[in-house]
Amino acid sequence: MGTVIDGLDVTHGGWRARHSALRLAVAAAKTCLDRAGRSPDEVDLLVNAGIYRDRNLAEPALAALIQQDVGATPEAPHRDGHGTFSFDVSNGACGVLTALQIVDGFMRSHTIDCALVVASDADPGRGRSRHFPFSHAGAALMCDWSDDDCGLGRVHWVNVPDDGETFRATVGLHDSHNVLRFDASTAMDEQFATAAAEAVTRCLQDASLGLSDVDAIVAAPAHAGYRVALATRLGVPESRITVAADDRMHTAALIAAFHDGAERLRSDSRVLVVAAGAGVTAGAALYRMPLAGS
């Protein structure tokens, strides 16, 4: 029993969406729904894990705007219908894993039947940011529930507090303007890989499995240096770890990596999903591909 991924989409920002995480998320969500053959009204829960957004918006949750623009029961409550609930989570490149864990909890309690996880980032632009380091990209995951022995397993987390020394993004007044700025340590990839490897160790120990029992490893963030460092710590060839092809992708990177790493796997295959982000925080979980026909 577990939460299964019923479809996904990764969208890269064109010229029009280059300052709009909202447009990217909506485009990815719509395509994802189309591919899964679902109507927007079927979405019970919409969790947005994206961080860098239009105008550095603080309120409301971007998820509410995404819900309205996707057209997922945006109307007032009425009889013979069921509404959609939307909110944002923020956990760096681990945000999608956090969102999946939340979705899994609500699926497990039969609170929801269908959930959409979205993640997008775009440079808020127009003088609102300096040296924006991420690609403009969005992604969406359609989640369903399976009673078979498949889907998302327990998520294991590791925190190695660094007070933002490894990676930090802040908005503050600079030359009398509110500007989004970034600070990254040169040791970032190594620090992320150390936390990620620890999360993987806990995850595999809990499942009494080894890396040889795993058919694919999908990881975020997508930096080449992180991939190398993680492979070294796990003692596997770099080629066994799939990250997003676009190494500047941020919160959407885990979905892109899953798309590339799990796409050709047969049913019942085991995927190790691992992500690390600012904090430093890292999470890992096993995902078992749904059985054919389930």
């Binding site: 609930f85 989570v89 933002g164």
Partner: protein
């Protein structure tokens, strides 16, 4: 297939565990800012009687010495200290504030506020993430954590928020010209930190009975807050009337639904704590609810907005602690926490408190 409009636990197999509220804490800055003094700072002669409009006389504000991070941390320590719970026993810390100001008026986008608070309080074993859902943030966090506890995913967790949001009022005071200004709601804001400790309890215990939420997203653009121009922090633009109209139209239906799911009537609710926007709005909303049900809850809705203003995502906890300290809530009584927030987010959490908790706040039968 879900039968309810609200996203809430349905007719599946019973959850293996129950969630009890094990502690509630808050931290209020010591500096008072009266509505009279705030309105004296407006750049333009506005002719607005804010106190008459909102019922807000006073609010607490940080002088810059406290920010979202310190307010959240102080509230978390207050919560854990009151019930003598060790932070190392926490499985999760969820930070739910709108503002993430640290080191003054710098908004920390990454890393998470939850990670910083967990580290500061010694929650070394807790997973951490931030959740953002406007003023419904903390109750959304409670809904997520309640579900995890009921399913056995975690045993104990802290939902925390620190809102250093009064600078929006200072910014608005520079821009507001008339009562029609979209920044009027900024003048109602106050600062506060709040924390709720939830933990696993045996089935049948007092605790969270049911939690349900929905987002009426057609109204998602009625209130937007973001950093703008050269004002420190952020500015907020609100269609207050539009929000009130939409909330009053939708809330009674959703309350009928959740009370029916819980198998109780309106007169079974002892205390109602709504989001605190203005005393007038709360009374108007409760009048609509009473008209819809033909009966009222046992006590008038709690109002703390007159003293503390709208402290964003922390209002329900600030009010709950106030009621507990005043000895107005007894063990076993039913409390309805009602979230109304930009989105438009509408949520209801029904809970009862046990003697163990109520006695911690000085009230004994």
């Amino acid at each position: 297939m879900r039968k309810h409009w609200l996203v809430m636990e349905g007719d599946g197999p019973p959850a293996p565990f129950q969630t009890r509220l094990a502690g509630a804490g808050r931290h209020l800055p010591t500096t008072h800012l009266s509505t009279h003094d705030l309105m004296a700072t407006t750049r333009h002669d506005t002719h607005i009687d804010l106190e008459r409009l909102t019922g807000i006389r006073d609010r607490r504000v940080s002088n810059g010495d406290e920010d979202s991070y310190t307010l959240a941390t102080a509230a978390a320590l207050d919560c854990l200290g009151r019930v003598e719970q060790d932070a190392a026993s926490l499985d999760v810390v969820i930070s739910c504030s709108i503002t993430k100001l640290r080191d003054g008026l710098t908004q920390w986008v990454e890393p998470t506020m939850s990670g910083a608070v967990a580290h500061a309080i010694g929650a070394a074993n807790a997973m951490t993430f931030d959740l953002s859902n406007a003023c419904a943030g903390m109750l959304t966090g409670v809904t997520v954590l309640n579900n995890w506890i009921r399913q056995g995913t975690v045993e104990r967790g802290l939902v925390v928020s620190g809102e250093y949001i009064s600078q929006l009022g200072q910014n608005a005071a520079r821009h507001i010209r008339t009562i029609m200004s979209k920044e009027l709601a900024c003048l109602t804001l106050g600062d506060a930190g709040a924390a709720l400790l939830l933990e696993r309890a045996p089935a049948g215990s007092a605790g969270i009975r049911i939690a349900g939420f929905t987002t009426v997203a057609n109204h998602s653009r009625l209130c937007l807050a973001y950093p703008k121009g050269n004002d420190p922090g952020a500015r907020m633009f609100t269609d207050s009337r539009g929000i009130q109209r939409a909330a009053i139209a939708a809330t009674p239906y959703l309350l009928h639904e959740i009370l029916e799911a819980a198998g109780i009537s309106m007169h079974d609710i002892d205390h109602v704590i709504t989001h605190q926007t203005s005393a007038r709005a709360i009374r108007k909303g409760m009048a609509a609810v009473t008209a819809s049900f033909g009966e009222a809850p046992r006590h008038d809705a709690v109002i703390t907005v007159d003293r503390y203003g709208n402290t964003a995502s922390t209002t329900h906890t600030v009010a709950l602690v106030e009621e507990l300290e005043a000895g107005r809530i007894r063990a076993g009584e039913t409390i309805a926490l009602i979230a109304l927030a930009s989105g438009l987010e509408i949520g209801v959490v029904l809970l009862t408190l046990d003697e163990g908790l109520v006695n911690r706040y000085g009230h004994r039968d």
